[in-house]
Symmetry: none
Subunit: 401 residues, 2 copies
């Protein structure tokens, strides 16, 4: 058998007053989620570990079977890979924003949510060399971009330029380890030099909020991780919109499938993504399907929206199940809990349901944060999910004789 | 939010014939325990690990978030800190008893449960120097005391002097590692020398059971552990009577609060301890409240007493909950199981209930060893409890982005 993992970003929640002290999952009409729970095996899962609040990046590493602790340095390299940049061993990659500054003061961290001309702006500051280190800048979606430093003796343990707030000065990057002093110095020089270029550039003419600075954050180095197929013995693909998860899956050697209309947000092509899973399964043993919608609603503190997001995903899962039939073991889960009333990730464990033809079913009837707690796989950890799926797909080699 | 952990020493039990094959928790009227279970998240917790019978010291280390395996050497240093002694790096500390011996034979391990004059007896043998190592003896409660060896080249891996039985000879301490030979030799010399001093002392005149020997046991070295606040990002305090837990909490840098009438036993000031929690929360982020009563009844094999002890604690928890309101996440648990019919610790997991405003509730309705087993946090480990509470108090920093 093959295996499919559906990750609904930030879908876990807590009871919400406006929903009658139910969670969005308890409120939503979601016959397909519930069918998998009823016919399958459930649990609450600690994606990283009890009491650890996962980031989306560390959580996805764990769900792909990689312990993030020894390999994770920062988000930059995943974002870089996600927008199609090459990240080489030794590179230090940062996420960055085009921003509007006045002197050193950050006026707008998103330069008026700039959309046009970022490709030219990135090109204008890309390619310079500082202390023998090459600077590569590439635009991403809207005001976002990626900065890569490429050369000898770089170290990702440096502070951000981005103060993560407005009306305060940009930061001077500091080395967090002595071995990172060169990297911090180069980053600070680049920041100053790029401000000069951008301020004087015709590309900013007529802009109310000129993109006159680049605020770098989230430095990291490309992790050396075993390829997914080599590690798990399954050829894998992923259907996902957001650059972070696309990049992370590229590192793991998964085939990244494009779907028309996939936005990585609440308005994505749910049905198209669902259908892409069955297509990808034709040439793969494992497919990861990712939906961002629940997390977007959660960060925006919109419980009713989150209920709709769950229902949108539920319809997609219905289509997916119909197309796949009983060819694959299915896992439905989330990368972390994002309670609408908190508006950010928390450490609460996430619901999990696993179904496959001929496998056991536990007594759980509904897919939600309360019902799943009495399931067969309660308390499992994210890093064990791929091994569990392999086991249920009869793909786990005997250990011993 | 803040966090409160209530540890009821030895509260876990097994079905008892005289209670109609129910446990003391299943028998007791305990509306406040049950309310927390009903409104919260439950489980059975392995304080150290499956099948590991916890000591009170190792269990409390784990419940404070410290893996005891790499740091625990013996109980001595905790008892020493608990009675207000200073324990320096390199010291080896022992618990000890004043005992009555005849020649080498132990007649009474507690010297008639001696209460008077132990301060003078300790002073009489304290202060000597053997092979350049300073000997410090201090009396504790009743027949108990602490012996500290202070000097170069000491090692806690030595056998006890205390045979833990009566009508048998005192032991000669043996080095359990070659590096501990000096320590064993000094301990044996001290034991002989102190017997001479005590036998000849006027302090023993007229005593039917003279305190003419010191039986050392439980050697250990001060662990180097990160301070609680540094490790968990919460300023912490503890409300507890027994020296062991007081000492252990001092090592961890928790503020130890005194409560009038707190005895560390079945006759403690339950209400005063409950009220002290709310007071301590004013200047702390975390408070540990400890009750010894259930363990005392369990070691004495008194199930009916244990039921009363649980009910005494329940009333205290009611007062505590009322005073705290919804300011803190609450955990109710035990450090280990002490079945009344065994009369000693066993490895059975302990009940756990966690409640906090706005958090999830599972289907468990009662707080006991059977009901909690179907809860959301079943199977969790003691070392994960502080991380879980931090997570639920929204104090867990995001790992990743």
């Amino acid at each position: 058998m093959k295996a499919v993992m559906v990750i609904c970003d930030g879908m876990g929640d807590r009871p919400i007053g406006s929903l009658g002290y139910k969670t969005p999952l308890q409120t939503a009409k979601k016959p397909n989620f519930d069918r998998v729970a009823k016919d399958g095996m459930c649990g609450l899962m600690y994606t990283i570990g009890p009491g650890i609040t996962p980031g989306s990046d560390t959580a996805h590493l764990a769900l792909l079977g990689y312990d993030p602790v020894p390999i994770y340095t920062g988000r930059g390299p995943f974002e870089a890979m996600g927008i199609g940049m090459e990240v080489r061993p030794g590179d230090v990659a940062f996420r960055c924003n085009f921003a509007t500054v006045d002197g050193n003061k950050v006026i707008d961290r998103r330069a008026g949510r700039i959309r046009d001309g970022t490709q030219e702006l990135a090109a204008a500051v890309s390619g310079m060399e500082i202390e023998g280190v090459k600077i590569i800048v590439r635009e991403g979606v809207e005001h976002r971009g990626v900065l890569i430093l490429r050369g000898e003796g770089l170290d990702p343990h440096v502070g951000d330029i981005d103060p993560h707030k407005e009306q305060v000065p940009m930061l001077v990057s500091k080395a967090l380890k002595p071995s990172a002093e060169k990297t911090a110095r180069i980053l600070n020089t680049f920041t100053t030099e790029s401000m000069k270029i951008l301020s004087e550039s015709d590309l900013n003419k007529g802009r109310e909020r000129p993109a006159n600075a680049i605020l770098a954050r989230g430095p990291g180095q490309a992790p050396h991780i075993p390829q997914f197929q080599e590690k798990h013995g399954m050829k894998g693909a992923v259907v996902v919109g957001i650059p972070l998860v696309r990049g992370l899956c590229r590192f793991a050697g998964l085939e990244v499938r494009d779907v028309q209309g996939a936005t990585g947000s609440i308005d994505t092509n749910f049905e198209g993504k669902a259908r892409a899973v069955a297509a990808a399964l034709k040439t793969n043993d494992f497919v990861l399907l990712h939906f961002k919608a629940p997390d977007v609603y959660s960060h925006d503190r919109k419980p009713a929206g989150k209920v709709k997001g769950v229902q949108d995903i539920d319809r997609a899962i219905g289509i997916m199940l119909e197309e796949i039939g009983d060819e694959a073991v299915i896992a439905l889960t989330a990368d972390h809990t994002t309670p609408c009333e908190v508006g950010d990730h928390t450490a609460d464990p996430v619901p999990l349901a696993i179904w496959g033809k001929g496998l056991r079913a536990d007594a759980v009837k509904k897919y939600d944060e309360i019902s799943c707690a009495s399931g067969m796989h309660n308390g499992v950890r994210g890093v064990d999910l791929i091994p569990l799926l392999k086991g249920y797909a009869n793909r786990s080699a005997k250990y011993g004789a």
